[in-house]
């Protein structure tokens, strides 16, 4: 059984998925799609039901209403028909970890809202509240067919805050933020240790045991916090029931603690933890910690966990893998990390890719293509940036494939979506065509006097 699907089939996750659906239905960006669009001709990569050569797709009211053969497709009245002969049509790509909207110019600190470094336990940070909808980086990514992305804080803290799931087009931030606080990273890669300064200046937690103890305490605090509130609610109910005969004063509400409050949906298994580790020992420590508190999780990175891939498969959870460009360890073969997606796939693990980037989100498909040169089947590579990602993030009923009823996030390119040479020609988000322009295109045209293709 595929782990992510079983995850989706669980009741809690259905709730989660339907939450995504509701939000997607509410959102139109700057008005909804005004008239039907038909893309006719071209090779349609549906992801769920194969490739249709000389296919067609119909988009109406922001959704896909038909997918089929160009010759037989029904063209709705008043539709805009676009000839896509010679083109490849595929679903909008989903990047499973980015910092889009949290940075503009990396070296300019004033433009960065990447992570709070004052404490390691910051679950009450909401990326949705820093997300900059007008960022110049978003159209750059969108123009290469990335239509949806997870926004995560940078990984310098063990609990740096909560993710958001966005659509890369919209009139403003609320429209683009399809799901706020959809998941929360728990980072245990060793980079979260506060040991970068000299020994005498170190602060807690400067070791892995420090990080683990601090995490454990944070989750215990949240459990206590929950008990306090449960107890308060019980006493409040009792007091209301016995108002007349009992002269006891109203119970006092516990003081609100935003950190513990933020952790509760994760402790209750309602939301998903993105558990990041690199090496086998960190991975196993992080997993036992997650199991101790019955957290629902997917794995992230595991770039140096090759010796324990069977153990990983046994966990029955999806993996956000890589980036596969992570350098191998000193004594490892050059392709040790390049081949990790294929190794995981062989063991039945559902994988997705992420750019782990802001400026280079547009290059997400290159990584998927490159992984096929090291054994990952092509269809799986494409799924890893479309359907698998939609499943992991609980939005597979709306996104990730070209199927009737799904949100019309559709990309038209002059070739193979996973090849670096392929040029994206058109991008539709919720049925509306996105302007193929960004800051870079404008500079190009300005300096090439009249523009060039």
């Amino acid at each position: 059984m595929q782990p992510a699907i079983s995850f989706l089939r669980s009741t809690k996750c259905r709730l989660f998925a339907s939450l995504g659906l509701t939000i997607l239905m509410v959102m139109g960006w700057a008005g909804a799609q005004d008239k039907p669009v038909v893309l006719r001709g071209g090779k349609v990569l549906t992801v769920t039901h194969g490739v249709i050569d000389n296919g067609a797709i119909v988009m109406e009211g922001g959704r896909i209403t038909a997918v089929g053969d160009a010759g037989t497709i029904h063209v709705p009245a008043g539709a805009r028909v676009i000839d896509a002969t010679g083109m490849t049509i595929y679903p909008g790509l989903i990047d499973s970890e980015t910092q889009l909207g949290l940075t503009e110019i990396s070296a300019e600190q004033t433009t960065n809202d990447l992570v709070e470094l004052s404490d390691e336990i910051m679950p009450h940070m909401h990326t949705a509240e820093a997300f900059h909808a007008e960022s110049a980086l978003i159209p750059v990514a969108r123009m290469n067919g990335i239509t949806n992305a997870v926004i995560a804080p940078e990984s310098a803290d063990t609990l740096p805050g909560q993710d958001s799931f966005i659509q890369l087009a919209g009139a403003n931030a609320p429209e683009m933020l399809l799901i706020r606080d959809n998941a929360m990273p728990l980072n245990f890669t060793g980079d979260q240790r506060r040991n970068k300064t000299g020994f005498e200046k170190r602060k807690f937690p400067s070791t892995r045991m420090g990080l683990a103890a601090q995490l454990r305490q944070a989750f215990l605090d949240a459990q206590d916090y929950k008990l306090k509130w449960t107890d308060y609610e019980r006493r409040k109910t009792d007091a209301a029931l016995n108002k007349d005969k009992d002269k006891k004063p109203e119970p006092l509400a516990p003081k609100r603690d935003l950190k513990s409050e933020a952790l509760l949906p994760y402790l209750e298994g309602k939301k998903m933890i993105v558990l990041a580790a690199e090496s086998p020992s960190d991975l196993e420590t992080a997993v036992s910690l997650a199991n101790e508190f019955k957290l629902k999780f997917v794995l992230n990175h595991i770039s140096h966990s090759q010796p324990v891939l069977d153990y990983v498969a046994g966990l029955n959870v999806p993996v956000i893998v890589g980036p596969i460009y992570e350098a191998p360890k000193e004594d490892e073969r050059y392709d040790t990390v390049y081949s990790l997606p294929a190794q995981l796939y062989k063991r039945g693990v559902k994988i997705v890719f992420a750019s782990y980037s802001a400026h280079n989100v547009r290059n997400l498909p290159d990584q998927a293509g490159f992984a096929t040169a090291f054994g990952l089947p092509y269809d799986e590579a494409l799924k890893a940036i479309t359907l698998n990602a939609a499943e992991i993030w609980g939005v597979a009923e709306q996104l990730g494939s070209l199927d009737v009823g799904k949100t019309a996030n559709v990309v038209v390119a002059n070739g193979d979506p996973l090849d670096v040479k392929t040029d994206v020609k058109r991008v539709f988000i919720a049925g509306r065509e996105v302007p193929m322009s960004d800051r870079q295109v404008r500079l190009r045209d300005e300096y090439s006097k009249g523009g060039q293709e």
């Binding site: 110019i105 300019e108 040169a373």
Partner: protein
């Protein structure tokens, strides 16, 4: 007395070299160096004269002896059947900082032309191997950009597993690293030192070059006196720093400049004219597209990224069309890595120029072979598949200018240094655990 001992030392060194060389030869009975090799059944991408489908290459003594649909080679030659795969020249990375064990910046003074990167060269660095597995055969290892004038580069061949001196590109021309913009002013400005502004940057550079002019004049005067037979002439003091800069002014060292902004490129061009030296290449050069005419007119190349942008203010106007727009204006363009990540897949980076601006296959390939070879000053010896050049070659699995191109065999000087089909690291000269 001193002279005699030096002679003895020299003789001893010669003997030692010969002894070591023969020992090495004995130890590598399996190796192909010095043997005749024929690679047949390849799609040969020559870079200079098109592709030859079903082509062959005859390699003799580490050099390309013949290229064509058929080649005349002795029957004793070792045959490598490329199985219809693509064959390209080895990739040349014209901007790298690998194998320097983090000794990239002598950031204690903005003028350090006497730093020799060769002195920091860590020939065992695995980054050399990982780039080799990505098809890189030659790299220019540069000083960093903390200083306005950094150190002198070393050119290496990625013969991983060979001795240090075998990895140095023989008789490669000298290059020096200049910098500009944000890095020097940040490094020294943060210490309340000069330079902390761009005008400070250029003033520091000009001051150093003026000193070098004076130094050169003193030595020229002295040499003139000696030539005239003046026995009382006293030699000026040797100054390594100014000696290096004097060699820049004498045109003996090629100037490689780290630079982002278009206005600074124009200032550097003017500065070079003021002091009479030539700039070989602008590195990074993300705004080259804005002043490509002037860059081309001065015969300056650029070594740029394919699509990096936004990592700092001076990279904010970077566009992925930079390479092709500059090329169309006549600029010689190389795509380089400046990274021990990207130097493992420069072929993909070059392929992006086919998408952004429509470079042809040959133009794209040239950006990681012949053009960087020119920047390094070794284009007469590497960078294309032509008779007489070093047999630095890559046999590819998949089409090299795509997401799917992966080197299967990499040869340097006619010797296989990487073979993907081998277990372990895939290296032929480096043995694990040694």
């Amino acid at each position: 007395m001193r002279l005699i001992s030096e002679k003895i030392l020299v003789l001893y060194c010669v003997w030692l070299t010969v002894a070591l060389a023969s020992a090495a030869a004995l130890g590598q009975a399996e190796a192909t160096a010095g043997h005749d090799i024929v690679i047949k059944n390849a799609i040969v991408m020559t870079v200079t004269h098109g592709n030859i489908t079903n082509g062959s290459i005859y390699i003799k003594d580490g050099k390309i002896a013949a290229v064509g649909e058929t080649v005349n080679a002795p029957a004793s030659a070792t045959v490598i059947d490329a199985g219809g795969k693509y064959l390209t020249p080895g990739i040349i990375d014209s901007h790298s900082h690998i194998a320097l064990d983090d000794d990239v910046n002598e950031a204690t003074n903005p003028i350090t032309p006497h730093m020799m990167m060769k002195d920091a060269f860590d020939y065992q660095d695995k980054a050399i191997y990982r780039a080799l597995a990505g098809g890189v055969t030659t790299s220019l290892l540069l000083h960093g950009s903390a200083n306005m004038i950094g150190g002198q580069a070393v050119v290496i061949k990625h013969k991983y597993g060979a001795a240090r001196d075998e990895m140095l590109f023989p008789n490669a021309p000298r290059s020096i690293k200049f910098a500009s913009g944000e890095n020097p002013k940040r490094v020294y400005g943060s210490r309340d030192q000069l330079p902390s502004t761009r005008m400070g940057n250029f003033a520091v550079q000009r001051e150093a070059l003026v000193q070098a002019q004076d130094y050169m004049r003193e030595w020229d005067n002295y040499n003139e006196k000696v030539k005239r037979g003046d026995k009382d002439a006293t030699p000026p003091k040797h100054d390594l720093k100014l000696e290096a800069l004097a060699d820049v002014l004498r045109g003996k060292i090629m100037v490689q400049i780290h630079i982002y902004r278009a206005d600074e490129m124009l200032t550097e061009i003017a500065m070079a004219k003021e002091f009479g030296y030539k700039i070989r290449a602008f590195h990074h050069a993300l705004e080259a597209y804005k002043v490509a005419d002037q860059i081309a007119a001065n015969n300056i190349a650029i070594a740029t990224f394919s699509d990096w942008w936004g990592f700092k203010q001076e990279a904010w106007d970077a566009i992925p069309w930079n390479a092709t727009m500059s090329m169309r204006k006549g600029v010689r363009v190389a795509i380089k890595s400046d990274s021990e990540d990207y130097n493992r897949r420069l072929n993909q980076e070059a392929a992006k120029t086919m998408r952004y601006g429509g470079a042809t296959e040959e133009e794209a390939l040239k950006m990681i072979t012949l053009s960087p070879a020119w920047i390094v000053g070794v284009d007469d010896r590497v960078g294309s598949i032509d008779v007489g050049k070093d047999a630095d070659l890559v046999i590819w699995g998949g089409y090299p200018l795509s997401s799917y191109g992966v080197p299967e065999k990499v040869l340097i000087d006619g010797d296989v240094y990487f073979d993907r089909s081998l277990p372990g690291l895939g290296t032929t000269h480096y043995k694990e655990g040694e």
